[in-house]
């Protein structure tokens, strides 16, 4: 058990404006289950994409040594040929094809291009047996649950004669029972000599199966712990232990009456009708207050915000919303906007901007009546509004006639913010407002948030970056698995406390 199967040496990967990984080291021994943990955005997935060749050799610095040889993977095919298989967070299965078709997709048993279905099915049956999945190979993927789909992915990996299996957050969308089964399967593979890298932030799972844990933070390797040293406390400290310097603008909160109150809010999944995504949330936000919602990816924060914002997510939404003590109807986006609620999406390219139109048109889109009379747009007024907000949020562009698709992430975010500021909301929900933007732009966004709060708006910030929440909010709700599992004043909160609330909440749920 002593030989090293994989060594990643001094891996450095930069994206334009961001250093995602700097000098990361990872040593994995043959036959172990090696967990890689870290906060969202710490660089775990990037590291695995480097390893599997998604980012080809040459786009990063450092060396990958696999079974004694230095490897230069040009693409995912190169790494798969060597037995390194990655299973991504988002499953890569074709829903309308069968299990067998998916497992051998691109790799079919065929002769002169004619597929030998019998061979495929026989092999699929054998593979499904190995992963403990009792399904007909001809069942369509769309007809089986997420847990079983995960197993199909693993069977697919096995079909490629995997030596090193990488699982990126495999249990993120699984139920407790399915998660257990999956972890058991990993242990079974270990007995068969397959090495696994498990990326997870569910510490109880890591505790249970991992032989070693490598902790990554801000794109750097913090430490690697051996089995005997693994403890939740130690991991949490390493995961979050970073100093809070003045990366946040100073602010003196003036907090007034409750503006938004949400009572007993529940939401079901839009497709899997029996799955409850949001489970009876109670929450409020006051005038001039910045409220944070902490939690890990998949905790249901975005789903909650979007369901509140005009039922933009989910089905069978129940619960009540009050604005300044009066019940409000938020059953459509336009009604929510009318009642003074604005939601700034976490995914600005898909949900926030019209990328093929310019800044001016994007800024006024949510409040066209504000620049028009009887449905006729006043060009002058629109132009001055756009220039005004461009100045206020400091959008760097040659003019307001620049296409938003050509702006940097930070400036795009400022356009989306401007759009909602112009709609003049009382409650502003910001979902991951600083995701994927550089440090300078982050500070500007924080400044805008602080200014809005001082103008008396109630602001709810959803963020996976805990230092950010601690730095800019007054009060923090902690969410996990669709529930509020903690509420604390920001002055009392710490990253450890938040992480503990999440971990404990997870314990409760099981």
């Amino acid at each position: 058990m002593a030989s090293t199967i994989l060594e990643m040496r001094d891996i450095t990967k930069t994206f334009p404006g961001v250093k995602a990984l700097s000098n990361v080291k990872l040593m994995v021994e043959e036959g172990e289950i090696h967990a890689v943990v870290g906060e969202n955005g710490a660089g775990k997935s990037t590291l695995m994409k480097v390893l599997s060749g998604v980012y080809p050799s040459g786009t990063y610095d450092g060396q990958i040594i696999y079974r004694g040889d230095e490897c230069h993977f040009k693409g995912i095919h190169d790494s798969e040929r060597k037995g390194i298989v990655i299973i991504h967070q988002e499953l890569a299965l074709v829903p309308m094809l069968s299990i067998a078709e998916n497992i051998f997709l691109g790799n079919e048993h065929a002769r002169y291009g004619v597929i030998d279905w019998n061979a495929n099915e026989t092999r699929t049956s054998a593979l499904l047996k190995k992963v403990g999945l009792k399904e007909d190979p001809n069942t369509l993927i769309t007809n089986i649950g997420v847990g079983k789909q995960q197993l199909v992915e693993i069977a697919k990996a096995l079909s490629k004669e995997v030596k090193l299996l990488i699982l990126d957050e495999p249990t993120a969308s699984l139920s407790e029972k399915d998660s257990q089964a999956l972890l058991d399967l990993l242990l079974e593979f270990k007995r068969q000599g397959i090495t696994s890298i498990l990326i997870s932030h569910k510490l109880n799972e890591v505790n249970r199966v991992a032989d070693k844990v490598t902790i990554i933070r801000d794109g750097r390797t913090i430490e690697t712990l051996a089995k005997k040293d693994i403890s939740e406390d130690r991991i949490i400290t390493s995961m979050v232990g970073r100093s809070l310097d003045d990366r946040y603008p100073p602010r003196e909160p003036k907090i007034g009456e409750t503006v938004l109150e949400v009572k007993n809010w529940s939401v079901y999944h839009p497709i899997h009708a029996e799955r409850q995504v949001i489970k009876g949330i109670n929450l409020n936000a006051r005038k001039g207050e910045v409220v944070g919602i902490a939690g890990l990816m998949g905790a249901g924060r975005t789903e909650f915000a979007m369901s509140l914002f005009g039922r933009s997510y989910g089905r069978r939404i129940t619960g009540e919303a009050f604005l300044n003590g009066k019940p409000i109807d938020v059953s459509s986006v336009s009604k929510a906007v009318e009642h003074g609620i604005a939601y700034v999406t976490e995914d600005r390219k898909t949900y926030g901007l019209n990328l093929i139109d310019h800044i001016k048109h994007n800024i006024t889109l949510a409040n066209l009546p504000g620049v028009s009379r009887h449905g006729v747009i006043d060009d002058l007024r629109e132009l001055s509004v756009a220039n005004d907000y461009r100045g206020r949020t400091n959008i760097r562009a040659s003019s307001v006639y620049q296409m938003t698709g050509n702006l940097s992430g930070g400036n795009q975010q400022k356009v989306v913010l401007s759009k909602w500021l112009f709609a003049n909301p009382e409650v502003l929900i910001l979902d991951e407002p600083t995701r994927g933007i550089d440090v300078g732009a982050k500070y500007e966004i924080y400044t805008i948030i602080a200014r809005l709060a001082s103008e008396g708006k109630a602001i709810i910030v959803i963020s996976s970056e805990m230092p950010e929440l601690l730095g800019i909010t007054d009060r923090i709700y902690v969410m996990n698995e669709g529930r509020i599992v903690g509420e604390m004043a920001a002055s009392d909160a710490s990253q450890e406390k938040i992480m503990r609330a999440i971990v404990r909440g997870e314990g409760k749920a099981s």
């Binding site: 906007v337 019209n354 093929i356 066209l368 028009s372 747009i377 040659s398 006639y401």
Partner: protein
Amino acid sequence: MSTESAPGPQTGVAQDLQQGPRIAVSALVTNLREYGLVLALIAIMVFFQFTTSGTLFKPVNLSNLVQQNSFIIVMALGMLLVIVSGHIDLSVGSVAGFIGALAAMMMVIWPLGPLSNPLVVSIICLIVGGAIGAAQGYWIAYHRIPSFIVTLAGMLIFRGICQALLGGGSSVGPLPVGFKALSSGFIPDLIGPLTLIPPTVNAAGKTIVGSGLTLHLTTIVIGLVAVLAYAYFGLRARRTREKHGYEAEPFSLFVVKTLVISALALFLVYQFATYRGLPIVLMVMGVLIALFVFVTKRMTIGRRIYAMGGNAKAAQLSGIKTERLTLMVFINMGVLSALGGLIIAARLGQAVPAAGLGSELDVIAAVFIGGASAMGGVGQVIGAVVGGFIMGVMNNGMSIMGVNVDWQQVVKGLVLLGAVVFDVYNKNKA
């Protein structure tokens, strides 16, 4: 551009020297792309003017050209909104055929009494067109059935109903003269004709047809007013932009552009004035074009359609009711298809089972030649109109030249492909 930047004393002169022509060139390049289409139309017109030995611009032929192609342009206005909103409508030719048949039945066959008045019939037909658009749009907007499929079904359904209404292969006519005026009529000369050169009278005391020169004065006046309004509004918009420090287009280019377009317009108006004046259908078309330019450029509903086509999810999350908007776009398309059907029937003087057959392809081609994107969110009314005229001039010019109909299709196909390739190439370069 970067006039605010204060260059250092040493580099200043050199930069200014380089900056000047560079700005002019880059402005010319951007604007060439914008007006490339108009230039292409002019080039095509000049080409056919030569190859048809001057027939193309003859007043009679110009009137024909307008009357033959107006229905394409009218429907292209609706199709532009459909395509900008990210959809397609394949049913417009069949709907036009069906409405033509319906109008003919109401006016000629069915005993409707006073209801068979051409005006009443036209209004009813436009309403029926809107209802057809609503019926198709309902499935597209609220049930998210792809528009390609819904309107493909509509194309079959309404062609079938059209043929059934007309009782198999027969045609229904003749249609009343009052109705035919929609296509073949000319505006009355309210101010009175202006005789510049009196016609020659021969020895027998009869005037020689075609001699002399009489101008349709109302036409001239309308043309002048339109050109002046165009120049005035162009200048005013320019002033506004200048006042706010945004104007990419050099003044000289603006003047040249305005002069060229005005001169072209006045030339065409003069040609019409020497014949029988402006065709009624051209007036209808002109009013609709102006209306749709206004709606797309200045009205909130137009802006919302572009936003929806550019990113439907973002539009929805900005409070835009995308379902209702989609429905309205298809209702509009239905009404304009009906108008197109009435124009076709009025021109033929009867309803025929094949009326409008295949015209959906000409309409869609016009919109794409005009620079609209198949992905939605991009496209201009003027582009679609110019695209329609390009198709029309090619049809007309090649027919006069005696080019075989089969080869006409080949040429039109190549022009469509060429125009879109040119557009995509330009966009990638930018």
